[in-house]
Amino acid sequence: MPRLRSPAALEELRADIVSRRAACKPCISVCCGAGCDAVDSARVVKALRDEAVKQGGKVGVKATGCHGFCEKGPNIIVTPGELCYFGVGPEDVPGILAGTAKGVRIDEVPFYKHQMRLLIGDNPRIDPTRIEDYLALGGYAALSKALFEMTPDQVLDEVKKANLRGRGGGGFPAGLKWETAKNAPGDEKYVIVNGHEGEPGAFMDRALFTGNPHKVLEGLIIGAYAIGSHRGFIYTRHDSPKLIEHIETALAQAEEYGLLGGDILGSGFDFRVEVHFDVGIFVSGESSALMRSIEGNPPEPRPKYIRTSVSGIWDKPSNLNNVETWANVPQIISRGAGWYNSIGTEGSKGTKLVSLSGHVVNSGVVEVPMGTPLRAIVHDIGGGVPGGKPPKAVHFGGPMGGSIPERLIDTPLDFDALAALGAPIGAGGLLVMGDDTDMVDVARYFLEFLTNESCGKCVPCREGLLQMLKILTNMTKGKGRNGDIGRLEDLSDVTGMACLCALGKTSCDPLRSMLRYFRDEYEARIPVE
C-alpha cells in the first residue's frame, strides 16, 4: 500500500477506489454483528459466496458489522435498492440471488424508518476489515480537513460549539474536557477510547466499534490533534475476539496508509495508538480505574479530587471519551457545529445510539435524534411489548440507571430530562419491562451484578450493596421484615453519597428510582403486623 503524504494523495486514492466500484455490481451485505453471529450468519455468508461464485461472480458479498435489527437476524441488505431480508438461512440464498425472494425496502421497515442513522448507518456498507470501504464513504476526509485547514484550537472550538456531550454515562461536555486536558501543564498527554461497555443490556458501542472501527479511530486522531497528544490508548474488552481483530486490523491499515503513526498525511503530526484489555470486571470501565489498569495496576478507582484530564495515566493529562463520543467527532468536523446543533434538543445535541431490549417486539441497536420521545423508541421502532399490552416501565442506564413508569413515556430522550426523573441515559441501554415484571426482583438482579463487579475497596459500596442485596433477596423470598424499607433508604443514601467512585455512587440508582415510582410493590413485601 502506498503511504499517503498529502491530502491530495488521499483524495486521489479515494477517487480510485470509488471509480473501480463504479461498475456497480449488486452487493449483498450480511450482518455479522454479535446478535447475527450468534444465529450463525457466517453460514449465510458462506452459502452466498459459494452461490455467487457459481453464478460467475456478478454479485459481491460483504460480511459487515451490526445492521441494528438484532431481533430478526441473520439480517441481509441487498444494494442497489437497499432491500432487507430477515431471518435468512442458507436455504434462502438461491431465491435471494434469483430475485424471487421478496425483500422490504429499508425505508419501509418500521424498525429502521423512524431512525436517524448517522453513526450506525454506514455499518451495512462497510467490511470492517477493509479500510478501503471506509475511504469510499468519505472516511478520513475530516482528519485531512482538521490537519490541513484548521488549527488545533479551531478543532477544539468546533467541538465545543457543537455541544457534544459524552456518551459514556455522565453527559459531560466533551469540548470542555478536551480543553482541560489541552490546557493542563505538561507536554506528554494521552487520549483514550473507553470501549469497555460492561453493563448488561448495552451493546451499541460494540456494534459501532466492531462494525466501523475507523470512524472511532478517525475521531480519536482528530481529538489528539486538538489536545496536543501523540499517544492514544484503546481500552476494550478481552472477551470480544471479533472486536479485537477489527481494531487491530484497522490500526495496522491506517498506519500503512500513513493515516496513523509518524507524520500523518505529511502534516508533521505524529500519533500512535496502543490497545489495552480489561481484566474482566465492570469497574474497569470507570475512568480512573481504567487508567490504573492501563498503567498495569489493579483497576481500583482513584478519588477524582483532581480530574483525570489533568492527572490521569502516570499522572499525565489524559482525556477519556467513550466509543460513541469519538465516533461523533469526524462528522462534526466535516459538516460543522451548526449542522450538528440543528439535531437534538436545547441541552442534548446530535443523535444517540440506544440498545433496545427487554419486553419489546423489535430489539436491537437504535439511533435516533436526541429529543425523540421514549414512546417513539418503544412503540414506533420497538413495536411495543409482545402481546400488545402497555409496558409497566422503561429502564435506562443499566445497573446504575433508573426505571420510570409508563405514564412518563412521553419524556424526550434528553440527558437532563431523564436525569431529573432519576433514569439517566447512562451509556444508552433501554430496557422495556412488561406489566408482569417484579420491580423488587429487578433491583435485586442489578445489585447482585454490582456486588460481584465492585472492586471492593470502599465500605459503602462493598458492604452497602451486600446489605441491600440481602434485604431484597429476603423480600423476594417472602421474608421481608419491618424496617426493611427504612434500611434500604439509609443504605442507598449513604452509598450514593459516600462512595469513592461513580460506579459506587450510582450503584443504587435503580433501587432509588423504584422506591420513588414503585414503592407500593416494596411495601407489599413487608408483612402487616
Binding site: Q467, R487, A498
Partner: protein
C-alpha cells in the same frame, strides 16, 4: 523546568476555626494539627492515604458549592470551609459503622465509635468474616516493611486478605507488626490459620 518555591501557607476554616496549613496537606492533617478530631479506620500516618473506610467524610464548601468529601484525601485550599459534623455526615458515619459492625460487633474501635454516632450493631444481618478490610495490614506490609506477605484477593463482596505462605513463612515470625494495627484481630487469626495450614511446626522448632 520546575522552579523550587517555598510551600505557601493556606488558611482554611474548620468548624468555625481558622486553621493554618501548607499547600499539599489534606483536610484531615490540617484538622488534626489543630486538635480537631475526625474519626478514621483505614488511616495511618506512616501510610499513603487510602480513602477506603469513608468514615472521615466531611462537608466542604468552596465558592458557594457544598460537597461531601473524604478528608484523608481532600487537599486543603484557600478559603475552604469545612464542617466535620452535620446531620448528613453523622448519618454517613452511623450507617458505615452499622455495616462494619455486621462483621465485627465487638471490635473495641467500632464499639467506641458506635456509641458516639448512635450506631446499632444489630441493624444489619451478621456476616461471617470479622475482617473490615481497612487494609492496614496489607498496606503496612507493602509500604513500610516492603515484604508483601499479606495482600488482598478477589474483588467486590468476595474481597479478603490472605497471607502468602511462601513469604509469610520467612518474614512474619520476626515481625508481626501488623497485628497491633488490626482493629478486629483478624490479621492475627488469618496469619495463624495460614501457619497451621501451610507451614505447621515451623514455629515450634523456632521457639524450642
Amino acid at each position: 523546568m520546575k522552579r523550587e518555591s517555598p510551600l505557601s501557607e493556606i488558611v482554611l476554616q474548620i468548624d468555625g476555626k481558622a486553621v493554618k496549613a501548607t499547600e499539599g496537606m489534606t483536610v484531615l492533617q490540617a484538622a488534626r494539627s489543630a486538635a480537631i478530631s475526625i474519626p478514621t479506620l483505614c488511616h495511618h500516618e506512616k501510610l499513603e492515604p487510602y480513602g477506603g473506610c469513608r468514615l472521615c467524610m466531611v462537608e466542604v464548601e468552596a465558592r458557594g458549592r457544598k460537597n461531601y468529601v473524604v478528608s484523608c484525601l481532600y487537599p486543603v485550599a484557600r478559603d475552604l470551609v469545612v464542617r466535620t459534623r452535620s446531620e448528613k455526615v453523622d448519618k454517613v458515619r452511623r450507617v458505615i459503622l452499622e455495616e462494619l459492625l455486621a462483621h465485627a460487633p465487638h471490635s473495641p474501635d467500632l464499639v467506641r465509635l458506635a456509641q458516639e454516632y448512635g450506631a446499632d450493631k444489630d441493624r444489619f444481618e451478621k456476616e461471617s468474616s470479622f475482617c473490615i478490610l481497612c487494609g492496614l495490614c496489607v498496606r503496612y506490609c507493602a509500604e513500610v516493611k516492603e515484604k508483601n506477605a499479606v495482600g488482598f484477593v478477589d474483588n467486590g463482596v468476595r474481597r479478603k486478605i490472605r497471607f502468602v505462605p511462601e513469604i509469610a513463612s520467612n518474614e512474619c515470625w520476626d515481625c508481626q507488626e501488623c497485628f497491633a494495627l488490626c482493629p478486629t484481630s483478624y490479621a492475627q487469626a488469618t496469619y495463624f490459620l495460614t501457619e497451621a495450614l501451610a507451614f505447621p511446626g515451623r514455629r515450634i522448632s523456632w521457639t524450642r
